[in-house]
Symmetry: C2
Subunit: 358 residues, 2 copies
């Protein structure tokens, strides 16, 4: 008596990782279905060694589906997730579209699994850069409270999808093998697919992820601010972010500064992080041990190190937080939500549809 | 009636840039001499189209030298700079060795050229990551005062010298052309040549530059703290840094958060930066204009953008600061110090030697 699980956006950078996570998941799965846009429909993917053909996503795709994992862009979720709910499925949505919707729990299971029981058919998976910061900060918030967060990110290009990975590799090869000057490279994807101008990422650092909002912060930066407040249920927590893309393919790194409400000893902070599920303490500077992007790739954990007191602020702490953006930042967090829904008996149809059919 | 100028460490990543800066400098130069260690002595470099042989640095090398630019590592400066001063030269030292010495002005000409008149034969050029931050922050400090600085850096590998550039290119090629996994790459230089362990930089971000100090900050981070206080003559200014190496060859980027003493309007901050010598405002997010490492390469300016208010702290401001670490961060700032010494009539021998001969 297992579930029928659908993956929408199965051929993308996150979708393929979702499939890998489902293959090793504890979720009882009877049937798996892969859905995509017209461009990828008809492709054949593998699930536990069996070939599965990718189907075109339509309003009728979700009959008989118990759990639908969406990662095909905000407009696909906006259009099809309500039909999935109407058909009786529970949706775990990896896009930003529903994250601030009051009917939608925004969940990092280690942090706020208790909000899952309020779901109305859709649960949102937070932004990759937010999730790993939540795993690092929640153990601190629980013991000492949080007053403010200032974060500067070092984000991998895979957060912008497979086309950004391909663009980065192509650009790097053109510099290293063909001798092009990085500033003369042709760019078509980064920093934001939907924005007007595109800039090279090879040997560069781009202080723009997603498009700009009216307050001169980017959407990515505002996601970190607004999602942190919602997940932690701390509307007054001060959070400001600077989100930066760097020429790394996989794993986001973050330089995080926090001020706690109560004064915390660094050794106690380290112990709290080490004891928190999903967090791994990597912090022994005498042995040059600190988290590194290349070592986090393929792991579902969030690695935390360089934990040290601010040189001046009594309640200020700096740290370095690294995780695989496609796994804990997206695919694993989504599958983990599905597993938690199952464990809590929350995989069931909703009675009233709260989401508009487009 | 020009000067005899010596460049110590002439064959290094910074030394070669120093030579380029001297070629276009307004400094009246009669004779140029290139000095190095045994490894590079005998090589022939070009100066304004003329071949010049590199000489071995000895205690006797500085007879007749008016200005000596040092960039061959702290131990070379420690050993030979006092002999240069003893021989009547003025030393501009690009290493960290003399920076906190009370007899040594630590100078970013746009910020504190007034301290040059106190020199006793040696002037120190600050660390690359400090210099560009000083150019961005000094116009703000002068108008509104500074209470605190929190900076996270995105530093180019060229700050660790030519061998680090070579290592980065080799690693990237091994991944892109030969299919190696980044975590399996062999590293011999980064993160710090003198430290025990070495880690790959290709597709990575290393939260270690230079070795660690007793307070769990790295020396690079403590340079930013201590040098900022000395240059700005603000011993009580709160400065904490997280210094990170990323796979970029040239130009450092910095995510800088400050709190001012007096409240400042963002438009006024932008105007103050735009009016400050050496600073260039690149800030129009509606047009996706912000500083980028690849565009700063080869320029002596410091580019500042993404200037915006903190979302919560009334006097908090975030910005993104980018400059060519080998030029304003080292070679140009050193040559600019020499030019300023000349303009102020301060290229003259000192009477009493304040520095120990080793």
């Amino acid at each position: 008596m297992g579930y029928t699980v659908a993956v929408v956006g199965a051929t993308g950078a996150v979708g393929t990782r979702m499939i890998e996570m489902l293959e090793v998941s504890s979720l009882p799965i009877d049937k798996i279905r892969f859905l995509s846009s017209k461009r990828s429909a008809g492709k054949v993917l593998s699930y536990k060694g069996q070939p599965i053909e990718v189907e075109l996503t339509t309003e009728e795709s979700f009959a008989g589906v118990d759990i639908a994992l969406f990662s095909a862009g905000g407009s696909t979720s906006a259009k099809f997730a309500p039909y999935a709910v109407k058909a009786g499925a529970v949706v775990v949505d990896n896009t930003s579209y529903f994250r601030q919707n009051p009917h939608v729990p925004l969940v990092v299971p280690e942090v706020n699994a208790h909000t899952l029981k309020e779901h109305q058919g859709i649960i949102a998976c937070p932004n990759c850069s937010t999730i790993q910061m939540m795993v690092a900060l929640e153990p601190i918030r629980r013991k000492w409270g949080l007053e403010r967060v200032i974060v500067s990110t070092y984000q991998a290009v895979s957060g912008a999808g497979q086309s950004a990975i391909d663009e980065t590799k192509r650009e790097l090869k053109e510099v290293l093998n063909d001798g092009l000057d990085p500033k003369d490279l042709q760019a078509d994807i980064l920093p934001a697919g939907g924005d007007k101008k595109h800039y090279p990422i090879a040997f560069n650092a781009l202080a723009q992820i997603d498009v700009f909002t009216d307050n001169d912060y980017t959407f990515e930066e505002m996601k970190m601010t607004n999602e942190t407040k919602k997940i932690m249920e701390e509307p007054d927590l001060a959070v400001s972010a600077t989100c930066v893309r760097i020429p790394v393919l996989y794993s986001h790194s973050e330089s995080v500064y926090i001020e706690t409400k109560e004064k915390a000893a660094i050794e106690d902070v380290k112990a709290a992080i080490a004891a928190f599920p999903g967090a791994v303490l990597k912090d022994d500077v005498a042995q040059q041990i600190y988290p590194q992007a290349v070592n986090a790739v393929g792991s579902c954990d969030t690695f935390v190190g360089r934990i040290r007191k601010d040189l001046d602020a009594e309640k200020g702490i700096h740290m370095w937080v690294v995780s695989d953006n496609l796994l804990k930042g997206a695919a694993w967090n989504s599958v983990q939500i599905a597993e938690t829904l199952h464990q809590q008996g929350l995989v069931h149809p909703t009675e009233t549809l709260k989401f508009e059919l487009q």
